[in-house]
């Protein structure tokens, strides 16, 4: 199995994307921001199309779109975060998130039609589609880039984890103690935007959602301690990716992303039933 180059690339990229998703996913679940992660993966495609319309590199448009929308959600969410404490207030962001990504998807539809009408525009759509790859279709360079970006995001998340945890659990107290809660919130969503941009290209938007939500949700059910929880979330995500890749390799008609999500979801639903 490891003699196949596509499998080695998939394992390399998958391992680090799983780590990044598991570790940042623990905070995403803690802060009730799974919807934000989902929305960020949706804006990647319109971003790539808009970049093609403007004649710049599509990957640049994709990263810019996710990072700007991530920062935007963070900025707009400020009022609700400071209002009332804890997780309930975070839920209020959902209206803003839904409105923002629907508008951006509407723009995506505009660009899609525009390319469809212009001569030779179909190639623009094609190029955008090829950006959204499958984990089994990665080249060696792409896999290394995905692994590097994911590693940087993981390290950055761990680096801000102490103040971020403080700001997530008791925002008022953290703010009073001089922790820049708002800046941390925005910074975390920007990191999430980078994860979304990299993951939608390398492994697909579906894997991003599955790996952000399911392993971390299971870890939250099992472990109360943040350190154990973050480690568990990373471990569950790794197990899902490795198991899923092996399973998809063994069963050719099973898409790798479906296999990975199936294992991650089994872990989560198992934790719901058992814990």
């Amino acid at each position: 199995m490891l003699s196949q180059e596509f499998m080695r690339n998939a394992l390399l990229a998958g391992t680090f994307v799983a780590l990044a998703c598991g570790v940042s996913g623990w905070f995403v679940v803690l802060r009730g921001q799974v919807f934000a992660g989902d929305a960020l993966s949706h804006v990647a495609f319109p971003g790539a199309l808009a970049a093609a319309a403007a004649g710049v590199d599509q990957r640049l448009g994709l990263v810019l779109a996710t990072v700007i929308v991530g920062a935007g959600i963070g900025v707009l969410g400020r009022a609700t975060l400071s209002g009332r404490g804890g997780g309930v207030a975070l839920a209020a962001d959902d209206t803003a998130i839904g409105i923002a990504f629907t508008f951006i998807l509407g723009l995506g539809l505009f660009f899609l039609t525009r390319f469809g009408l212009s001569s030779g525009g179909a190639s623009g759509i094609q190029a955008a589609h090829t950006l959204f790859g499958s984990i089994f279709g990665l080249g060696a360079g792409e896999a290394r880039l995905a692994a590097a970006v994911a590693l940087v995001v993981t390290v950055a998340t761990v680096a801000i984890s102490r103040p971020l945890l403080f700001a997530s659990v008791t925002p008022e107290v953290a703010g009073a103690r001089g922790v820049p809660t708002r800046l941390l919130g925005i910074g975390f969503l920007v990191l999430l935007g980078v994860v979304a941009a990299e993951a939608t290209q390398a492994v697909g938007a579906l894997l991003l959602l599955g790996l952000l939500a399911a392993p971390a949700a299971a870890a939250h059910r099992i472990a109360r301690s943040p350190v154990v929880g973050i480690a568990l979330a990373g471990a569950f995500a790794l197990v899902s990716v490795w198991g899923g890749l092996v399973l998809a390799y063994a069963v050719p008609s099973l898409p790798p992303s479906s296999a990975v999500v199936a294992i991650a979801a089994t872990i989560y639903y198992g934790s719901v039933l058992l814990v």
């Binding site: 799974v34 309930v88 209206t95 629907t102 723009l107 639903y269």
Partner: protein, 304 residues
């Protein structure tokens, strides 16, 4: 002057333009279906914003993909698969999300996991089918100009049934949405209401996606309600405003798209968004702090 559907011309005479619009049966059907869907999604969306179930609504709209691919694999009409997955989604989100005292963070994670599982199933069905799944773009963005008389009737009956359920359940549903803990203590079946509302939400999402496509349902389901709840927090006026915004945005979008090469979903989403931005800007200018859409009514503790 007779109109030509292949080459519509927009003149300065608004009455003539509207006359040209309604000259065609497919356009009348589109406007009718649009109005039906706008009314339904305005009412359902208003409750959705109140209950903060935007993510659940989005997840139900995503059921279009596994639904369509499962139906294609089984050789059934696509709409059946869509409704089956929406129904299953409503049950699962309602049961997992509505049980015990769940925190928002856990609810968001369980909805996200469910969506990932459903999409993964969709990919599996596509892979098992082995073929290309129709025109994915038209599946994702809807096809409003191809609506038949029969579909208008189906939409009207679905809308009537959903609105009837909402009207019958209005009082307990509002109570359970605003204060689930107190409502539960008073004997209101909070969890059953949650499942029923999610089922109605699933119907509304499926119907709305006929007009806008599953990806843009929030243009009618969320934006009018969010705009109206920014203007006023009182239930009846804001509900009326939501209906007004919804129908207005839909007809305007459909009308403009008739004279343009771009699809209706884009115009509906853009006009709806522009309306929301205007309302928010106006509210900020006037210093209206009565009711942000993010904070429609005080909800304590846990989302049921």
């Amino acid at each position: 002057m007779s109109a030509d559907p292949a080459n519509p011309r927009l003149g300065w005479n608004v009455l003539r333009d509207v006359g040209e619009l309604v000259e065609y049966h497919f356009m009348v059907n589109a406007l009718l279906a649009g109005a039906i869907v706008a009314v339904m999604s305005a009412a359902v969306g208003w409750v959705m914003v109140l209950r903060r179930q935007t993510f659940a609504g989005h997840t139900l709209s995503m059921m279009a993909f596994p639904g369509a691919s499962a139906a294609t694999l089984a050789g059934l009409p696509v709409a059946w698969g869509y409704f089956a997955f929406c129904g299953a989604g409503a049950l699962i989100i309602g049961r997992v999300g509505g049980s015990e005292r769940r925190t928002w963070s856990e609810e968001s994670a369980s909805i996200g996991t469910f969506q990932a599982v459903a999409l993964a199933a969709g990919f599996l069905f596509v892979s098992l089918y082995g073929g290309v799944l129709g025109d994915l773009d038209s599946l994702l963005f809807g096809d409003v100009l191809g609506i038949s008389d029969g579909q208008v009737l189906v939409l009207a009956s679905v809308a009537a049934a959903s609105l009837a359920v909402l009207v019958v359940l209005a009082r307990p549903l509002l109570f359970a949405s605003v204060d689930p803990d107190v409502a539960g203590a008073r004997g209101v079946p909070v969890r059953a209401l949650s499942v029923v509302f999610l089922a109605v939400l699933g119907l509304a999402v499926a119907a709305t996606s006929q007009i806008t496509g599953p990806l843009l349902v929030f243009a009618l389901l969320l934006m009018p309600a969010a705009s109206a709840q920014t203007i006023t927090a009182r239930p009846i006026p804001s509900l009326a405003l939501t209906l007004l915004f919804g129908v207005g945005v839909t007809w305007l979008g459909l009308g403009i798209s008739y004279f343009s090469v771009y699809p209706a979903g884009f115009f509906i989403a853009t006009i709806s968004f522009a309306g929301y931005v205007l309302v928010r800007a106006g509210a900020a200018l006037l210093g209206v702090r009565r009711a942000r859409p993010a904070d429609p009514m005080p909800v304590d503790g846990v989302i049921a």
